[in-house]
Structures are given as C-alpha cells and as structure tokens.
C-alpha cells in the first residue's frame, strides 16, 4: 500500500521562547489507515497535529494533504480534515444541533440536515440535539466534538486523545465509531495515552519523543519485532540448577526451581533458537513439565522500552 494522504517532510517547530517542539519530522500517512501516534507528555504529538491542521505555524518544512500544501493551498488542504481536540472546548450556551451545523458551515459546506442527523445518530447524540452543551456530561461533550469534526464529511480525521476522561463503555463505543469511519474510507490519526487503544485499533504505530519521530511501524510487525515473549514451564520436579545444555542467558529458574522461564523475541524465533529447540533439549536432559503458559509483552512495554532507550 503506497497511497499517501498526508506527507510531512522536514518539519521543524521552534516556539518563540526557543523551545523546539518538533525536530525534522518526516512522516507519511497512508489513505484509509488508522495511525496511532504515541508519545509521553510534551513529546510533540499535539504540536504535530496542530501544524498539520493550521493551528500552529511551522518554522520549517512542508505538509502535503492529499497533494495540497497546508499553507499555500490551505483551503483545499483543510476542507479534507476534521479535528477533535484534546480539550473539551465548546460554546457552552449553544445547542448540540446548532453547534454541529455551525461547524459544517464554517468548513464551507452547504447546510445538509440529513447528514447532521446521520452524524448525531451514529454518535448517539440525536436525543440530545436540543440540549445546550453546558448540560452534557464530559463523554457526551467529547462526542459532540467528534460530531463537529465529522459535520463537513472530512477524508482525514485527527483525534487528539479522543477517549481521555471517557468511561470504559463509552470508550468502546467510540472505538466502534472510529472503525466504522475507517470502513467508510476515512483516514484516522489518533494520539493517545491509552496504549491499549492503539493496540486495539491502529494499523500502524508512530512513536514520537522529544519532538522526533522515533519509530513508525506496522503494529503487528512492531509487536513481533520488538515484543518479547516469556514461556514459563512448571516442572514436575524442581531443579537446583540448570544443566549445562540449558545454560543460556534467556533461561532462568524461578519459584525455588519449580519454574523454568524462557524469555525470547521474534528474532530468536527467526534464528531457529526458539521453543522447538528448547523442548528438544529438555527431552534429551529428561526434564519434564506438568504445565506451561506464555506471555507476550504489550505495546505499552514496547513503548516504555523505546522511550527509555532513547532518553
């Protein structure tokens, strides 16, 4: 798949005080994918989104949206984008219907009540359409922000921390909405602190740290490449020490010799030193086990390792 909808090249952003928020960012987002941008607080996630959406002026570099320069061709570029900001910002005294309709007009589209109705229903906001925003719960306000961003039928949707402060049930509902959008061809870029969110939804993961893109990888490949796994064998008879054939840094005895733990990753498997080789050695050495379980490191573990590594 090589059909970029966003191409960011050599993007730098230095704020007036001298703080460099982005350092030579190169990033390509493919049409129709869900891209998760991960990074610790202050890493530059929101600045990156803000530059792409026109909220922050870039110091250097270029952003192309569907082939249109975000500065020179701002009209064509921005009409393709919907943005759901991190903060719950809205006009407290407006009704849901009015504020979503306002957004559509603001983005240069003719009124289309049928589309607004569809968006509100898809976000279960239809019953609240006459309510003032100030009367809504935090989760509902977040949905209104999504509805505003979708009001003008964007091809690209930026979700900056979309489920922050949202309860678990609502979060899962939102994931469904986002999946539905992707199925309708919308490209989605989300930043999140909830790694499980990226793990659950993203096709590709980008990690940003201190203003630099540290890594961009297919989620599955990333998990396979960097995710370490652990195989724990519960031995029939405890061992006091490992026999010579099993003296390996990836193997250790725990639980007073009752458990043998093998830590490995995708690379070892590729090199043929994986589980089959271990099991064959155990058989040769006459070591038997009564149970086993495996554990794979989560995206969160990978992310923490990456950020720590480069700190």
């Amino acid at each position: 798949m090589n059909d970029p909808i966003i191409s960011i090249t050599g993007l730098n952003k230095t704020y007036q005080g001298g703080f460099q928020a982005l350092t030579h960012v190169d990033l390509t987002i493919q049409r129709g994918e869900i891209f998760a941008l991960l990074g610790p607080n202050g890493a530059g996630k929101t600045t990156l989104i803000s530059v792409v959406c026109g909220l922050v002026n870039p110091t250097q570099g270029q952003v192309l949206i569907d082939g249109f320069d975000s500065v020179r061709d701002y009209r064509q570029a921005r009409e393709r984008i919907g943005l759901v900001p991190q903060e719950l910002t809205n006009e407290a005294f407006e009704t849901v219907w009015n504020t979503v309709s306002f957004s559509r007009g603001l983005f240069g589209k003719a009124p289309n009540p049928a589309h607004i109705e569809k968006v509100l229903k898809s976000l279960t906001l239809w019953d609240k359409r006459h309510n003032r925003l100030m009367t809504l719960s935090g989760g509902m306000k977040r949905r209104v922000l999504i509805a505003k961003a979708l009001s003008h039928e964007p091809r690209i949707l930026f979700l900056d921390e979309p489920t922050a402060g949202v309860d678990v049930e609502l979060r899962r509902d939102m994931w469904e909405v986002v999946r539905g959008l992707r199925e309708s061809g919308v490209t989605i870029i989300l930043t999140t602190h909830y790694i499980e969110e990226a793990e659950e939804m993203a096709d590709r993961i980008g990690v940003i740290n201190r203003g630099e893109i540290v890594l961009v990888e297919e989620k599955a490949a990333l998990m396979q490449k960097l995710g370490s796994k652990q195989l724990t064998l519960q031995l029939q008879s405890p061992l006091t020490q490992l026999p010579n054939a099993l003296q390996h840094e990836a193997l250790s005895l725990t639980a007073n010799g009752h458990e043998l733990v093998y830590t490995y990753d995708g690379r070892q498997e590729e090199e043929g030193h994986g589980i089959p080789a271990l099991l064959a050695t155990l058989e040769r050495e006459g070591i038997t086990f009564k149970d086993l379980h495996t554990r794979q490191s989560s995206l969160e573990d990978i992310f923490v390792d990456l950020v720590k590594e480069r700190a």
Binding site: N57, T89, N90, E91, E94, N98, S103
Partner: protein
C-alpha cells in the same frame, strides 16, 4: 470568497445577540432613555437652543454615537474573545476560510447589531424630542462607517485581550471618556478657546460633529474633516487586522 463560513459566523453571532437580548438591546435603550430624561428634560429645559436646535434634540446624535462606539467595540471584542477564552477558536483557525471571511463574519455581525441599536435609539428619541434628519444618506453613511470601524477596533481588542479585565479596559477608559469629551452633550464652541484646541485632538469630536451635521446641518468641524477622520480610522483598523492575521499575533503560536 466562500459565503457559507461567513454566514455561519454571522448567524452564530446574531444568535448570541438574540440569546442576550436584555443585555444587548434593552439595556442600552433604557440607559439612553435615562440620558434623555436627565439631560434632555430635567437639565436641557434650562439650556438655550444651540445653533437653532433645542438641547434635547441637539444631544440625540451624540447619544447615538456614544452607544454606537461603545456597543460596536464591546460586541466585536467579546465575539472573538469568547472563542479564544473557551478554546473553541481552534475550529475557526483550522477551517478552510480566509482571514477576510472571518473578519466579515464577526465584524459584520457586531456592526449589524450596533446599527440596529442606533436605529432603535433614534426611534426611541423621537418619543422625547422633535427630530429632523437633514441629510439621511450621510446619516446612514456615518452610522454604518462608524459601526464597522469601531467593530473592527473591537475585533482587534478581542484578539489583544488575554483576560476579561483587558476586554473592558478600552471601552471604559478610552472610548467612553473620549465620547463624553467629544462634544456629545455640547458644542465645542461652548468651551474656552484653549480647550477647544485640545478637544480637536479628540478623534471622536469629528465623528459626533459629522453625525450631528447629517441631522441638523450644524457642525463643530468641517464635514470633510469628519469623513477623513472616519476613513483614517477605518484604514488603520484594517491595516492592524491584516498585520494580526499575517503574523498570527495572539492567535497562532
């Protein structure tokens, strides 16, 4: 130019006016009526005619101008300040609209409201004093130009202000004193020569004088000077706004 965004901003601002009808329309009308009662009826009855016009009628253009200036500045400054304050300005800045369209939407709504208010006050004043409008075209021209110019000034203040105190600073400490000292309630001929010269440095004098001329054909300064002054204000405001949007001053980091 895309008219949908302009319409969206304009209608949203006008809807805000409707929501705050009491504060937006009723309150200025009541306070203007009180001016008529105090200055027109109670005190004005003891003051002789000025340039052949009764004192009550003489102050009508000045009162309308006072409301026009303060309301234009307040409406426009609040209109753009509130999205900045609430954070919803992100939507304006990320929308595919030109700065000109943003300004037309916000300033157009603020000016419309001020013009409406000016006409309501004019109608109200006809209940208190006999009115005549010698030059209706110029009366409307001054009304519209002043409303637009001071709404542009309000828009600049709304972008500059980083708190509610600053939002009130210019209307209370600059606009209102200049209007009071700008010949709203008197002709500058009534002042000693020294203060007459000082008053000529007050730009509002030219606006009030020109507006009064459109009613009664009498003025403190020449009509050409009045038109030049309002045009100067208009151009200065437009240049400032163009600079704000070009640099992203207080809008885009």
């Amino acid at each position: 130019m895309n008219l949908y965004p302009v319409r969206a901003i304009y209608m949203a601002e006008m809807a805000r006016t409707r929501r705050t009808m009491l504060q937006s329309i009723v309150s200025p009308v009541i306070s203007t009526s009180l001016y008529f009662v105090v200055f027109g009826a109670a005190i004005g009855s003891r003051i002789s005619e000025i340039g052949g016009v009764s004192y009550g009628a003489f102050i009508v253009p000045g009162l309308i101008m006072l409301m026009l200036l303060t309301q234009s500045v307040s409406n426009a400054s609040f209109g753009i300040f509130f999205p900045k304050f609430s954070g919803s300005i992100y939507e304006i800045l990320s929308a595919p609209i030109s700065y000109l369209e943003v300004v037309i939407g916000y300033v157009g709504a603020a000016a419309s409201k001020s013009i409406l208010l000016g006409l309501i006050i004019l109608a109200t004043s006809s209940f208190f004093v006999p009115l005549e409008i010698a030059h209706p075209f110029w009366m409307l021209t001054f009304l519209v130009l002043t409303a637009v110019t001071f709404s542009l000034l309000g828009f600049i203040i709304g972008i500059w202000a980083d708190g509610f105190d600053k939002l009130q600073l210019v209307p209370l400490l600059v606009i209102t004193p200049l209007t009071f000292l700008g010949g709203s309630f008197y002709s500058i001929d009534m002042l000693p020569p020294f203060w007459q010269n000082v008053t000529l440095a007050n730009p509002v004098v030219y606006l009030v004088s020109g507006f009064r001329w459109s009613f009664y054909g009498i003025s403190d300064v020449s009509i050409v000077a009045s038109v030049a002054m309002i045009s100067l204000f208009l151009v200065a405001s437009l240049v400032t706004i163009a600079w704000i949007f070009r640099t992203g001053y207080r809008l885009k980091p």
